[in-house]
Subunit: 215 residues, 2 copies
DNA sequence: TATGTTGAGTAACGGCGTTACGCTATCGGT
DNA sequence: ACCGATAGCGTAACGCCGTTACTCAACATA
């Protein structure tokens, strides 16, 4: 019953798949073009009409694939969160020692921000509402990254590298520190040279270790 | 020579002053209307046409008083920095003890952000480029606030409340912590209830004290 | 009183996000 | 092989936006 038997039925099936593939394909091309434009000109230079022009379609066509501009922007940011999550996960695996693991996480966080300033600004500064957006509840990419951090914090507490306490609060504070360093570095990129950023980051990591670690 | 003698000369003088007063007055009214609109609808709902409508002038008139929208926005943010600076200065005077002074500064910073979310977002998150804007070099409001912090840090280092080191770097890290807490609280206002924010802030202040303090 | 200057308004340009509507090619059933 | 339905896309338009060119009236100056 569920199996296609006649040639006509098979044709209908593959035809439907081809259309879906093409649909996904265009959706991808829209997202890619939007991402490029976003990287090149920031949010200001990200207009539906320019995206459309880049891929050779009319602007209204985009609305067949994305609800509105915010929906498209969310998709871009979601891509950013995926990359972000991957880098953090990689850093978390770099060491078994709880102290080193936390340090690796912190440095990976800051480095992501410095290497992807346009993304970081959008993800954590300009549109930080996306962080806790209801859309993310399904598979929330940020929650995952925060989960990696909290797990590392719990491990560090068990091993004695961090003082015991509410892991949620401690993780939040650690997040606040690395986010603070990163966003200040991005805000005053002209004023903070690399050496200053590195020194601040090092002192911050030491502050975390001593301030949350020693009893 | 410089003194006006005849009635005509005196009239010319007071007339010129009246015009200047009126000019300043309208400039103020534009700024106030823009500030209100900004508070009510955020940056999105801040349009030149709506500002003009609110004060009963044509939109183009605004351009006689402000270069462009960014210039006007900068004036709004500048007002925010003035209030911010005043609150920090007040907190700095609240105690002579270096440790308490630093704590007061930190809490005042976070409280400003929580009580003025629209301003804080614009000043430190969405348009953080204003922080180090060249326009601020003349009388830079942020530099002053940072100066207050750095002075307190230097004092704390001399008294032994903070470990000795580069005051600039240490101040930057402290700033990063309170900014991180504040911006995360504002980003996830729905998720972070007041108790969680307070607990995070308290832990963060303790982390600063222990992590940057003890040798 | 004649002339220059200042402060305001009108109209318009180009761009934006978004929607209503129309067209065309392909699909699905006969 | 035909034919109505549907999917995919484009055109035109709406109502905004920031900004500028131009105009006009009121006033200051001489």
């Amino acid at each position: 019953m569920g199996q296609p038997n006649t040639q006509a039925e098979r044709l209908r099936e593959v035809s439907r798949r081809r259309r879906e593939r093409e649909k996904d394909d265009l959706r991808r091309r829209i997202l890619d073009a939007a991402g490029e434009l976003f990287l090149e000109h920031g949010y200001e230079g990200l207009s539906m009409r320019q995206i459309a022009e880049r891929i050779g379609y009319s602007a209204t066509t985009i609305y067949r694939y994305y609800e509105d501009k915010d929906d498209l922007l969310y998709a871009i940011v979601h891509d950013g969160f995926l990359r972000f999550g991957r880098q953090l996960a990689k850093a978390a695996q770099s060491s078994e020692d709880p102290r080193e693991r936390l340090a690796a996480l912190g440095h990976a966080y800051i480095e992501f921000g410095l290497r992807n300033p346009v993304y970081y600004r959008m993800m954590f500064m300009q549109r930080s509402d996306f962080l806790f957006d209801s859309r993310a509840e399904q598979k929330g990419p940020m929650i995952d990254s925060f989960g990696v951090l909290r797990q590392s914090v719990e491990q560090a507490m068990e091993s004695g590298a961090l003082r015991r306490g509410d892991p949620e609060t401690t993780s939040t504070v650690i997040w606040a520190v690395v986010h603070g360093i990163t966003s200040l570095a991005l805000a005053g990129a002209k004023r903070f040279n690399k050496k200053q950023v590195r020194e601040s980051a090092d002192l911050a990591m030491r502050m975390i270790r001593d301030g949350l670690g020693r009893t």
